[in-house]
Symmetry: C2
Subunit: 567 residues, 2 copies
């Protein structure tokens, strides 16, 4: 049997476009003598469709799209596609997350997702009823162990934090599956590909069965899907491995002996470093945000250039995503800006080959000073005055965005967003926060990677070397308010990703207890800023935004200790 793996990039809600894409790739599968074309989870609607599925008329349209694909499918080919389907039972959630076998204009087999991720960025229990993945789907004399994404993840070694009572992989093997087929929409995070490999290899070896894994590729708002589709042989070895962060296609002949020709893109050869993966993920995140929203909405991307490393890296990623002709940089010096800020910004724009503007914010800052003078009389200069500068820049950038249809990219990194070292409605402004899930120490790695990849100094050495500064008051340095970034990022990683307590962090890092308590307080009390942040591209297992839901209004106290923070 010849199975075509179709690692496609759908657009959420674009039922007509997604259906056409499934049919186009199906034609390609037929052209290469495939019997079965396999597509990602929910490929008809794009993942995540979220509450679009609550609308009955949307589900009618989904049914129409499935029906259309089934009827238009090239003859002789069957396809496995993913779509939400209605639950006809009188009780339970109203939908199933289904893998559908379609052939000759009809649905000839189904598997409903049994394990519904409802943690982090996933909300599948909002709409879906758990299905029964415990039956095989028969296709041309074979028994397929068909299942959907999370269904393969209930492995006690690898996924201890979201255990389910069912284990579809074991159950499918028990009822006679001869080949596992998984339709996924599994988002990228650093280390995720290796986890998938380990997980699938264990399933193959435990049950002595091969495994076909087809994952969505592409970015949808904050979620980036890497693809990473593969075929594993019954012994767990990888027979084929898709390219990451782009569409890819392969036909696997189940009868063919593995040969070197089959093993293109093998894990070891292909596997990029973490920083290279983050780079590619962010580039895809930017380009899909712009292209899927529609080029008629956003003609170009716009970046405010401070001369610092965050805006330089953001700008370089935007150029990698859209090309230099579609990126505009603006430097906006104030009286506190160093000469380097403008020069380094200019040098960056020059090396990237982008349109560049210099707009001094002095007139606006002076105007606000004059307007507020009667109200501020007798007060000391402080954060209010610093924020006016950041916000004057935002007004300038948003004016350009509104006037010319530019997508403003915000440049704040995860370290700053964590502790609130950013101005709401100031530098936090933008449609997409490119580095929101990248710690400052990783931003430096990205800068080096970008320059290495380019083979020249795209990002000026001066930008990389100088000490970080917001330049909102004379001689200001980030390190005046924050610990060194390697210390800060270590604490943040423990608190945000590992969910460690202050005591845990003291024990594990040996850092000062008061410092750790201060950082934790800063993270907690700046939730109100993050709630109004632009959506941020997710590259870790725990990004701020939709996957981390914490109260804004709260106090943290405990019994038998001093209150942690009576804010």
């Amino acid at each position: 049997m010849r199975i075509a793996l179709c690692q496609t990039n759908p657009i959420v809600g674009d039922l007509a476009g997604n259906a056409q894409k499934i049919l186009a790739w199906s034609q390609r599968a037929v052209d290469e003598q495939a019997d079965l074309a396999v597509f990602p989870e929910l490929c008809v609607v794009g993942y995540p469709p979220q509450d679009l599925m609550d609308r009955p008329s949307f589900m009618d349209e989904v049914n129409d799209a499935v029906d259309y694909v089934a009827h238009q499918l090239p003859s002789g080919l069957a396809a496995l596609i993913g779509a939400p389907v209605r639950n006809d039972d009188k009780t339970g959630k109203r939908l199933f997350n289904a893998a559908l076998l379609i052939e000759n204009g009809a649905i000839t087999g189904t598997a409903y997702k049994a394990l519904l991720p409802t943690y982090d960025v996933f909300d599948e229990f909002r709409q879906f009823e758990p299905g029964d993945a415990r039956h095989v789907v028969r296709f041309r004399g074979r028994k397929l162990g068909l299942h959907v994404c999370e269904d393969m993840w209930n492995n006690k070694e690898i996924a201890p934090f979201h255990l389910y009572n069912a284990n579809p992989i074991d159950e499918l093997a028990a009822v006679g599956a001869e080949l596992f087929v998984n339709l996924s929409a599994s988002p990228f995070a650093v280390g995720k590909s290796e986890e998938r490999t380990q997980l699938i290899q264990e399933s193959c070896r435990e049950h002595g069965l091969p495994f076909v894994y087809v994952n969505q590729v592409g970015a949808n708002t904050e979620l980036i899907f890497d693809g990473d589709s593969r075929v594993h042989a019954a012994d767990g070895s990888i027979l084929w491995h898709a390219k990451s962060f782009e569409e890819d296609f392969f036909v696997w002949d189940t009868e063919e002996t593995p040969s070197t020709s089959l093993t293109r893109h093998l894990s070891q050869e292909r596997r990029n470093s973490d920083v290279a993966q983050i780079h590619d993920a962010l580039v895809l995140g930017i380009s899909d945000y712009v292209e899927k929203t529609g080029p008629s909405v956003f003609s170009k991307a716009l970046v405010g250039l401070s001369g610092g490393i965050d805006s330089a890296v953001t700008c370089a990623l935007a150029v990698a995503a859209l090309g230099p002709d579609r990126v505009v940089g603006v430097t906006m010096p104030s009286k506190y800006s160093s000469g380097g800020s403008v020069d380094d910004s200019h040098a960056l724009a020059k090396s990237l080959g982008i349109e560049f503007h210099n707009v001094s914010i002095k007139p606006a800052v002076e105007a606000f000073g004059e307007m507020l003078e009667p109200l501020f009389v007798g007060t000391d200069e402080g954060v209010a005055e610093e924020n006016i500068q950041a916000r004057a820049r935002a007004v300038t950038l948003m004016a350009l965005s509104n006037k010319f249809g530019y997508l403003l990219l915000s440049t704040g990194n995860k370290s700053e967003m964590a502790v609130g070292y950013a101005t709401l409605y100031g530098d936090m402004s933008g449609g997409l926060a490119v580095l929101a899930d990248v710690f400052k120490t990783q931003v430096y790695e990205l800068a080096h990677h970008i320059n290495e990849r380019a083979g020249n100094e795209l990002i000026p050495q001066n930008t990389i070397a100088k000490p970080p500064s917001a330049e909102l008051k004379p001689g200001q340095l980030d390190q005046d308010s924050l610990p060194p970034y390697d210390v800060l990022d270590t604490i943040l990683d423990h608190y945000i990703e590992e969910l460690n307590s202050a005591e845990d962090i003291v024990r594990e890092t040996g850092y000062d207890e008061a410092l750790i308590a201060r950082i934790i307080r800063m993270v907690d009390r700046n939730e109100y800023k993050r709630r109004q942040a632009a959506p941020g591209l997710r590259v870790s297992e725990k990004a701020f935004g939709v996957g981390r839901r914490v109260p804004i209004v709260m106090r943290r106290t405990a019994i038998a200790k001093e209150p942690l923070d009576r804010l």
Copy 2:
């Protein structure tokens, strides 16, 4: 048996404070000879605790708090309290949402919530495993049908959209419950109290059992809990009904014959109009946001006054919540502002008795004009220029907020937020969006209600009477860009709350198809603005924000029709 209903207002995460509150109210219960004190769902942590519960150290602290309450409880009294407890099974979500019977320093009975709401603003499947509510809890010879919130809601007549397979109410009756006891954290929405009454009365009558219902009161960020606790007799009649939107306490003697003295706050007498309920909900929402965050954070609330009805109503609500001494109003005229804007704002500030400032934004608007002139040369004035004005106001207000510790209240209503008739980082700025779930037509009702309640013209008649205008260009009126608000609000209600399609809305309203399609497109494409909006107080069954999760990057097309919107 004497049962004390304790309708308390906990603070999320404030384990020490919440424990002390439980103990203080327990003392009150003892003082009134109660045998059992009943508190709301998750009263130890405050609802919703969200992902705080993912942190192991938090759960340790919750255990400590439960233990502390159990040991400190006045002797002779038992209490029913709500807390998350760990699931010791090797599979399943890691926590249960528990009602705990505590007495003599120990937990002597439990009920784990069986029906876990995971829709709209609820995410209970993120952390909780469904429990088994199918056993009674024995207390002093009585069999209590103890259950938690949603467990009572699986009624096919009343809750057809989120049916579960279990029905704890029926199951508890089947195993011999003699009295239903429900611990809730059920947020307010217009009409919710009547739904609860209907639901509880049906349960009472069907099983011939009385019903004790204790619901949380208070606001936690966007969610407002009305309380609405009650005792229903076995025939369904209401024996006691708590005040809404404030803490309340009552001791019910199960042996006592209902008398008129018992029936204080009866439904019919007490029930306020929808607009009065919305008023009280919003006032509580503002005051709890400020008080729970801590008065050391926010000294006062700040409102930008345009002379229009939204800012006037927001300001009046803030005064009702915090008192006139803790509200500051600022009018910020531009060259397009009518004289009435300043005068009406001034009149409002005078009638409310608040501090008032007039800061012209002319200098800032001129400065931005000068700064952008070289870049804007040859373009027509438009939205970019209009937004500069709205953003210059936001910079001004945020400067005051940062300087003096004021909470900026944003004033946009649900109609504007729906269609994007608002400026991101402009009038959308603020820590709390008071009217974000109130349609424009309801804002007028609120204005009339506020004046009626005050017995004088708190909100100037001129503000109510004049046609709405953003005043961002000469002679601009809302109705130049939007249909009349009664038409707009009807369409929005159908699309957002009823989830109707364009075709449905045409059929049900008879309005122009092109108009309806245009409004729907506006709602869909302005999701990016709403994602960055301030948290908005929720008063309807479908508010924007955490309870409505739709993609930002998407296209809406369907098969066999022209694409609806290829943006």
